[in-house]
Every structure is written in structure tokens, then in C-alpha cells.
Amino acid sequence: MNTVGHSRYAVRMAADSLRAEIIKLATLPTFRLTVLGTWAAAVALGVAFASAAIHGQTGTTSALDVGLDPVDQTLAGFIILGIAAATSEYNGGQIRTSLVSVPRRMQLQASKVIALVLVTVPVAICDVIFGVGAARGVLGRFADLSDLSRAAQAVAGAVAYLTLTALISFAIATVMRRTLPAVATLLSYYFIVGPVVRDYTALSIYLPDTAGRSMWFPGYSGTDGALNVMQGSAVVVLWTLVAMTIAMMSFRCRDA
């Protein structure tokens, strides 16, 4: 085969392994349930936050600001999605079937990552929109959806943050290989350790969870010492790349 034929063949093989990974995610019950549960939580929390806003409990009645609050909690769903995508290979000995079907480990890992992104982004978009929509629904005439460009930027930032966090979780779970320890570690970090440390160290702005806030949290970027949107995004992307590299190296060298 000439070089054009070779590269066309390589592209087809890459597409094949990518398709297989997407089928794996789509047919994994844990994955499906987590997606549905996350969406449900987004709606429920959107309603809850909006009710609190009406009673004057939150500082704002902007449907956007209130509707984005659920992102903080639904982040947990995306962490679990990333973990499930990685650890499901170690159930029933599936990793051996996967490695026999696609023996080049880099290709296999890359397919998994791309598949995860392709599936997670739409889930994240729905997650954010459901939350904002639910808040808008409850706030009704109180809603204040003025600035559309700010809304678009915040939604895009939230979707990016949720997806990158899913990727970081995927990478860490690839190294840990077991679901519960990965869930315990990542959720404890993002929900307990991270937020607490945030209040006490200035350096925390370089940690993925705090830096990520500037990507979507209304009014966060630009407050004292916090990074702005571009800086925050860069930090989170950097963390994602570091985690991915470590995961790739681990996957490549270890016995199946």
C-alpha cells in the first residue's frame, strides 16, 4: 500500500477503536444511570436554589447565576462518569479482551479519551441547560436573563470545566484501577479538601477545583487574587494534561 492508502487505513482503524469505545460507554448501565441521575440532580437543585432565591436567601435572582449553582454539585456526576469509563475495563477481565482487540495501548487509551469527551460534552451541555432552565422556570417573572453573551460564556465555561474534570477523574482512575478508592479520593478532594483549603491558602488558586471556578462561577474571576477566565482555564487544562500523561505512562507499562 502506498502512503495515502496507509494513512487512510490508519484513520479507519482509529475510527473503529473510537466507535468501539463509544459503544462501551453507551452500553454501560452505570454510565447511563449516572447521566440520568446527574441531569435529575441538576433540575432538582435548580428548583431548590431558585426557591431559596425567591425567599431572598441568595444574593441574586438572575436565572443564570442561580441556575449555574447546581454545577458545583453535579460535578460529582461527571467525576463518577470519568471514573466509570476507566475502571469498567477491570470488571470481568474485560481489559484482556480490549487489549487483544486493540493491542496498541496508546491507540486504545487515546480512543477512550476521545470517546469520553465526545459523550461528556453533550451530557454537560444538557446538565447546565437543565439547571438554568429549572431555575428560570421557578423564578418566572423574577428571572433576569439579561446579558446573553455573558450567559454563553458562562455556559461554555461550565461545560468545559465539567468535561475537563471528567478527564482528570478518568486519568486518576486509570492509575488506581479500582472504583471505590477513586470515587472516595476524588469526591473527598473536590468537595471537602479543595473547598476547605481554598479558604486558607492563597496558593489554592492554582489547584484544579479553585482555578476551575473562574471558568464558570458567576463573578468569581476578578475577585481578590483569583485568576481570570483565561488563566483559570489554562491552569485546569494543564492539570488535565499532567494527569493524562501520568495515566498514559501507567497504562503503557503495567501488566494488563
Binding site: 431548590a48 425567599h55 436567601q57 472516595a184 469526591l187 468537595f191 471537602i192 483549603v197 491558602t201
Partner: protein
């Protein structure tokens, strides 16, 4: 007694349990160190007139409960975990049920083992955390009273009941993911249950909100519940979950 001892052995053999113990021992003291240092510098800089909050040390122990949660979940989920490899029916639950005289006894022994382990953990962490806080704050810390001992008891009860709640939920779900996710999220700085208290006063009677009253004095809520009442409410919740879980466990195929 034998059954509880064998359940304790099982717990001791799980690496996840030791990790949970490490987490439980570390989180509260480390956070207490950070917050007390900050308070101390603020007092020394003159921006805070002191004395420290009555809840210093105890607020951090409310975060530390995450170790108890992990322990409670793993104690049950480890029976069902078949992760890593093959064969269809070799989950530990089968061995456990064969060895135990009855399912009810197995559960009681397991609950007993979890309670004992977490109570010890809670005692140790409370002592460490309060020592750290009082050590750092020195004169600025709130004087020790008989109430303090009562509050430490409250911490221990809170941790034990939370661990049992985690075990109880895992009896239903078998997989540890959902109970871990729900309970860890609920231990964070702003919890879902706390947000619910903003929406309805009834949320103050949820297990964690009520249980916190046992040792937290300055809870930001208009609804006042006495410590013992809070403990009783939490106890009732956990009893309900455990009994429901036991019934499901009794009836289900292994």
C-alpha cells in the same frame, strides 16, 4: 461476641478500611491546624479580637466524618465487590452467609464492628483535633468545661451514626458508589441538606442537620434543637434505615 470479633478481623484485612482510618485521623486535625493558625494570626494582627469561636475544633470534626463514611460503606460493599477479575459467584457475601448462623446475626455483628471501630477512631481524632486547636490558640481558646466532654461524646455518636447510615444505605445499593457520593457531597462546606434548611424548616430534622446539634453550638439556623433531641432524631433516622436495609438484606438472594 465471636461474630463481632470476626467482623472486626474482616475490617482489619481491608486496605480501604485503613485508608478510611487514615483519612479520619488526618482531615480534622489538618483543617483545624489551618483554621486555628489563621485565627491566631488574625488575633495577633489585631483584626480579630478573640476569643475564638466556641465551635473551633468541633467544626473541623464535622468534616472529618468523611473517614467514618468511607469505613461504613466499605464494610458492606466489600461483601459484594467482584471487581478486578473473574468467576461469577465468588463474592465474599456467599462465604459470610455460609459462616453466619443467620443473616440478622451477621448484620448485627457487622454493625457492632463498625460502631466499635468508628467510636475508637472518633475518640482519637477528637482528642488530637482539640489538642491542636487549643495548643495553637492558647489563651484565645474557649475554656474547657463539662460541656466539652459532652460535646466530644456528641462527636463520637455523630461519627458512629453516620457510619451506620452509610452501611445502611449500602445494604440497599450493594455498590458503594451512590452512598459514597451522596454522603461525601453532604459533608462538604455547603451541604445540600443545609441548603434545604433555607427552603424549609423541616430540613433541620434531617439526620445530619439534627445530629450536628450534638456538638456544634453556633449553627446558622433559626431553628433551635437541643443536643440530646438532635441526637435522638438522628438515632431514629439511622435505626429506620438499618431496619429497612436489614429487611431487604434478609429477603434478597445473596
Amino acid at each position: 461476641m465471636n461474630a463481632i470479633r470476626s467482623e472486626l478481623h474482616k475490617l482489619a484485612s481491608l486496605p480501604s478500611v485503613w485508608a478510611a482510618i487514615a483519612v479520619g485521623l488526618l482531615v480534622a486535625p489538618v483543617v483545624a491546624y489551618l483554621s486555628s493558625s489563621t485565627t491566631l494570626s488574625a488575633i495577633q494582627a489585631g483584626t480579630d479580637s478573640g476569643p475564638a469561636s466556641i465551635d473551633s475544633g468541633f467544626q473541623e470534626l464535622a468534616f472529618g466524618v468523611v473517614g467514618a463514611i468511607i469505613l461504613g460503606v466499605v464494610a458492606v460493599s466489600s461483601e459484594y465487590v467482584a471487581e478486578g477479575e473473574e468467576a461469577t459467584g465468588t463474592r465474599q457475601i456467599i462465604t459470610s452467609l455460609t459462616a453466619a448462623p443467620s443473616r440478622a446475626r451477621l448484620l448485627i455483628a457487622k454493625a457492632g464492628a463498625v460502631a466499635l471501630a468508628v467510636a475508637s477512631l472518633a475518640m482519637a481524632t477528637s482528642v488530637i483535633t482539640l489538642t491542636v486547636t487549643r495548643g495553637l490558640l492558647g489563651e484565645a481558646s474557649v475554656p474547657l468545661t463539662a460541656d466539652t466532654a459532652g460535646r466530644v461524646a456528641g462527636v463520637v455518636v455523630y461519627w458512629v451514626l453516620t457510619a451506620l447510615l452509610a452501611s445502611g444505605i449500602t445494604l440497599f445499593t450493594r455498590s458503594g458508589i451512590v452512598p459514597l457520593a451522596v454522603l461525601i457531597l453532604n459533608t462538604s462546606v455547603i451541604t445540600v441538606t443545609y441548603l434545604l434548611t433555607r427552603v424549609t424548616a423541616l430540613a433541620n430534622y434531617l439526620p445530619d442537620m439534627a445530629g450536628l446539634r450534638m456538638f456544634i453550638r453556633e449553627l446558622d439556623s433559626p431553628v433551635k434543637i437541643a443536643p440530646l433531641n438532635g441526637g435522638a432524631v438522628m438515632f431514629a433516622w439511622i435505626l429506620f434505615v438499618l431496619v429497612a436495609g436489614a429487611i431487604v438484606f434478609q429477603r434478597r438472594d445473596a
